[in-house]
Symmetry: C2
Subunit: 373 residues, 2 copies
């Protein structure tokens, strides 16, 4: 937390008249990282937010950070209730909120959607005013102190289909829009499978890795570099919260973890018999898997085109080459070296956005570089 | 690689006269990321560096980035040879370099030290001019294109004890110093155990996680957030290189991976029987393990002191509190909320460097905040 930015919150776009009419006022129940951040985003957009938490100190801190007010709402006026409590408590708190705020739509932000909906159905709750949702944002930190109105900007936010009237869904969509997130509609079971794959299982792998560090002699830990820190960062997460998330989604997680155990067993066997292919194969599979992840903001990577330049056999020439590419105002998206048996020097392959390649080629040729067509 | 910085290299400190006398000129064999970065650091310090690579295109690119020259050295003048080739090739290349550069000290940078030394001993090589070493730096990228003279700054760099004359060791220490790294001497076996713990096993766990992503339906991948990206970042590493590293250190790695499999089996059983303690216990163990990692640069965290402030029950007060702490010029190292059954509002615990706490307490009291003593 060193260097934490405590400067005042930059306001996002104010709510439109329609958004204001859909949402104002909102009650947020549970002022941990996610609840407090939602409060901050809505407050910054001009929506009145009432904060509730079983720990008044959390609600006060969230309020102090700009997430809303700790004063009570007029129950019948509330348009939207956001339930941001730990997963185990969600069904009960949603049920109580539906009863208390008779004209409000109630959403929750739990990381697992089908068990919540099943529990509400089992309890016989009328689900026309309930819409489950899940913002794909968070961090290894918990509690309101690291809240930010920008936590959800450009992140995916899932709305779970299968409950809620059209009007109810619209209100939650307005919430997602005001938080700056990118909306996805998913069936609850599809959501739960997807988060097991891309969130819960990676969390467990991180924790398994980190748990072994307890056995490492402290001097050995001095050799830790950025790699192990990245792998274990999410292992710093809250055990109670994650215990509940994983338990709630255990069927999906079990299936996927069993597949990993099979991969691990295969690797152990390969290491035992010193079969180099077992190791190289796993690392290659991992590299393939990581390249399947979409670009940072969930965009499919934009189309790239490649300009291939003969590598100059003269000192300083390459630095000049890079300087000229930059002077063209073109961003280099990727660089690689190609060996060519017929040419000792080989080629440098420069990937740029497709729209820029032609102009770059013309400019490079004009400057005397040898391009491969 | 988007936004890659192609601006000219900032020069580190120039070599001292003693360092210059110890090292100039250097031959770097193998101009991948590590070899090219060493070349860049030494060249920037004013040392003459001759680059060699089985792929001339790599050496040319490294030279173009400022790592040295592709022209040949006068063999008898060379003071230090850095062997930065893939692990499997290291013993043979070291042996040839010792024969070719008769007055040079030869070091290697392979990630595993005992097998290299054993292979050289077995080949009957005189080890008085050989000193094994290992800079704890690198990335998921390979090849010279991502080389940087700053790659090793503040990173640990191990010198493996058990070979090399005192003078030979001094030369490699001069190399470490010029690269800006932090020196550690370790026995080869201790080094290999430590890197298995903090590098090779985390790499495997990252690859195991990433390999499963190949089976994930592409729409599910849209839900991927920062967590899975962090866990799988090093899984982007080069399969051939890592296959060799892991195979070379397989005995240590096997022991540690078997312990992880036992943890995984226990978790699978707990999930199968819906034992919440199995999950919470693992996440808690992981959190404990990750907190055992030393601070970012390997310093033990500096001593902190805590100032405990009653949380103000008034809107906007907390923002004012933070502003006042910042106005004191004190960096907040950590923040947490303490519940207190006797006080509805609770306390905010503000950790600052030990030397700053007293002045902060005085200033806060003077401004009217309620502190807990």
């Amino acid at each position: 937390m060193a260097g934490r930015d405590l400067s005042p919150i930059r306001a996002p776009q104010p709510a439109s008249e329609r958004q204001y009419a859909e949402l104002d006022p909102v009650v947020v129940i549970g002022t941990g990282l996610v609840g407090a951040s939602i409060g901050c985003a809505l407050s910054a957009a001009g929506i009145q937010v009432h904060l509730r938490d079983r720990y008044r100190s959390h609600a006060l801190v969230a309020a102090g950070l700009g997430a809303g007010t700790v004063s009570s709402a007029q129950n019948s006026a509330v348009k939207l209730v956001v339930v941001a409590v730990p997963p185990d408590a969600v069904p009960e708190v949603v049920e109580r909120a539906l009863a208390r705020y008779r004209h409000a739509v109630v959403t929750d932000v739990a990381s697992v959607k089908k068990p919540v909906m099943d529990a509400l159905r089992e309890a016989g709750v009328d689900l026309s005013r309930y819409v489950g949702s899940h913002p794909m944002a968070g961090s290894q930190y918990s509690g309101p102190l690291t809240a930010s109105p920008h936590l959800f900007v450009d992140r995916r936010w899932v709305i779970a289909d299968g409950s809620g009237s059209a009007q109810a869904v619209r209100r939650v969509e307005a919430l997602v829009a005001l938080c700056g997130a990118r909306l996805i509609h998913l069936a609850p079971a599809d959501h739960d499978r997807a988060v097991a794959e891309v969130s819960h299982v990676p969390q467990i792998m991180s924790s398994l890795t980190a748990a072994r560090l307890r056995e490492v002699p402290p001097p050995d830990l001095l050799l830790a570099g950025q790699g192990v820190r990245d792998v274990t960062r999410v292992a710093g997460s809250d055990p109670t919260l994650w215990g509940q998330i994983i338990a709630a989604n255990r069927t999906e997680i079990l299936t996927q973890l069993r597949a990993i155990r099979a991969d691990l067993d295969q690797l152990l066997e390969g290491l035992g018999t010193n079969d180099p292919q077992a190791v190289t194969g796993l690392i290659a599979a991992g590299r393939e898997g990581v390249s399947a992840l979409p670009g940072k903001h969930g965009h499919p990577g934009s189309a790239l085109d490649t300009v291939v330049v003969e590598i100059p056999d003269a000192p300083g020439a390459l630095a000049r080459l890079f300087a000229e590419i930059q002077a063209q105002g073109v961003n280099i998206e990727d660089l690689s070296i190609e060996h060519d048996l017929a040419k000792p020097a080989g080629y440098l392959s420069v990937a740029v956005e497709a729209g820029h390649a032609e102009a770059l080629r013309a400019a490079m040729t004009a400057s005397g570089w040898e391009l491969r067509s």
